[in-house]
Amino acid sequence: MTPVLADQLVDWSYVGDHIPEIRHALQQHLALTVIAVGVGFAISCVLAAIAIRFRISYQPINAVAGVMYAVPSLALFILLTPIFGLTALTAEIALVSYTIQILFRAIVAGIDGVPDFVRESATAMGYTRRKRLWSVEVPLALPVIMGGLRIATVTTVGLVPIAGILGADQGGLGTFIYDGLARDFKTPLLVGAVVTVALAVALDMVLVLTERLLTPWLRRTHAVAAS
């Protein structure tokens, strides 16, 4: 029976038998992604605030984040194991480090992209520094920041399966991929890969919708431009 199954592209009975496992892996994948992007976003906000307040610190932060980004993901997961063991923490630390470079740059670029005359008008209208940041600069920077969040989220979804090399509890849908590679069995490979891509696309769409909800003024200008 086995050789026949190995030749089929998709063994649907395998898929049917593993629905609970797939759901579990999907939840884990989602949790790993959300935590990584959330923590990465929080850290990036702090770093971006420092970089915007103290211009000199931008290049060093960017360079460190850039080198972290250059380390192959597979290797980073592995290199952290002697320190943190084969745990989800190892996976999360590596995933967070990849989001930081993308998010940090996006936040700084977004705030920097606010035109000076807008900033000056806000000041002239009596906005304090903090009020100006939250009511003028952050809303105007939102499209760029959301763009960064989209790339970071989608990248993280794609990196989680690689973390599966650490073991079954760290890789989300990657568990199926490593299982399929180990047994030369195509169905779990396809399940892992296809569901990963679907999750990436779904999360991207959620973020696009969030962006549209958060920036109603952009829709209005589009409508005006179209009419």
């Binding site: 250059a70 290797a75 990248t155 979804v157 399966p161």
Partner: protein, 229 residues
Amino acid sequence: MNGLHNLLVWFNDPANWHGYNGVPQRVLEHVVLWAKAMTVATLLAVPVGLLLGRSRRSGVLTSNVANIGRAIPSFAILVLGVVWFGLSDVPVVVALVLLAIPPMFTFTFTAIRGVDRATVESARGMGMTETRVLRSVQIPLASPLILNGIRLSSAAVIATVPLAALIGGGGLGRYVVDGFSVRDFAEVGAGVVLVVALVLLNEALFAGVIALVTPGPRTRRRRLRMPRA
């Protein structure tokens, strides 16, 4: 600092510099995979980016397509490639090409869009043909940004080639995967150091090339000289 010491010992071991698993061989495999992927991706992404960047109507659709392109997880594509093509270099190159296309394409597209309209109109007004406008005005002015896109793609490809080792391919990922399977973290670390070195080399080379092609005071005179009719 024990890890660093082990790393130095690894690099000092002559056995790691010879044969099929030696550093020169693995670096060569790495660079060959990179070159294949970058050649295919550049030939696909840059011309299409140039053409679509020039046309008036392709804005929204194009940027959406490029964004979806960024949503493709390389590892998943690599695995789908294995299902499709079997274990060989082909799925690796396919996954890398798909990884490399979006940044190059987006940068080429926005670079061509971003060339000053007045400059392009002047070139047309001077009687240049459309091909000539593209070749002598738009591409030179857009080339720093285009090369920046290629630089980003290239760095991502170098850092992603190691995934090939998961499906039995060569390159520096071998050190990472083989080192991990026997818990030899010095070997893993050596793989990482070599990959990061390649990425830094990539950054340096592109920085040099971009500085050379950037239109500026140094090259302006030559660029603006018109052929005498």
